[in-house]
Amino acid sequence: MVNERVWRVLESVMDPEIPVLSVLDLGVVRYVRSDEGGLRVGITPTYSGCPATEVIQRSIHEALAREELGNVTVETVLSPPWTSEWLTEEGRRKLETFGIAAPTARAASNMACPRCGSHEVKRLSEFGSTPCKAHYRCSDCLEPFDVFKCI
């Protein structure tokens, strides 16, 4: 099946800002379809202005072009809007290992410092180095860390 091959290729396309996450872990691939016009891959942006979205679209295009699967179109899908709930379990695990706390809809007390595991954490800013991250600090090991925002 061509579509299965496409999904396997997508597993190897990484987010440029958080290089441990594939586009599948991130939950931004909405569909893979093939019709007479070729392959169509639907991608949803995480944030309206996230510069990574364009890089991701280009990377997907290039990765699929290397497989010689014919004509490939990468389409933007706005609705329904992306939510951090679409991050896969695997993606959450990879984030934590990478040192970024996974998003939690519950209070910050459930959040753990990705370095020492302490729940004594403090929010420094709801905005971080990329649109998808907030900035926290652990009150026990005193290290600052990023948190993947809940949106």
């Binding site: 510069p51 971080g128 649109p131 949106i151």
Partner: protein, 251 residues
Amino acid sequence: MTSEAKFRYVLRLADTSLVLGQRLGEWVGHAPALEEDLALANIALDLIGQARLFLSYAGEIEGRGRDEDALAYLRDAPEFCNASLAEQPNGDFGRTIVRQFLLDAWQLEVYEALAGSSDARLAGIAAKAVKETRYHVRFSAGWLVRLGDGTAESHARVEQALDALWRFTDELLTPDALDEEMAAAGIGPSLPALRARWEERVGAVLAEATLKQPAMSRYPWYGKRGVHTEHLGHMLAEMQHLPRTFPGVTW
């Protein structure tokens, strides 16, 4: 409804985000602390992202082959349809926060209503933008309370900013013929209904910030119809100079 009317309406949404985003971008490297620098830059990025989605759509509605870049970089001030408040200069951090809060609170109401628009494309953009705007308004409201209810100096500065900027809020909340046409078609929000929600939200934050709500002057500002204060032209001169000096330039 003509496509020309819809084009101009979508430009209003686009340009308010674009101009406000550009203004916030002027803070990059100059904010009082690193966290605030990052926050303002992140909010600017969201706003410019929203503007790009709206501008691309506006270009498609117009159907004359203008893309987002042509609309952002190759229009002059009288063709911009942003609310006058968005183009007001940054001033100090307090003034930027006042401008930001008044507009964040407005955009939150607009996008929440627009998410149920009869226009599926606008509804999609708004449903995305509303999630981002909730973060924006928490940031600007939080700072407004800290500054208003802060030291005598910080209180005086945001009070002065509020007095200077309040006059521009009436434009956001009073519908003109185009706003009414869009509301009647189920495309845009009803501004009189939106005004009540906006006043409630803003009033609560101002009270917490120990700031007195200024009296509304009814001088009609019409940035949304292309009648701008002198500040927009200067801002555009900087924003547009590269693509105008080197037409078609790419990275």
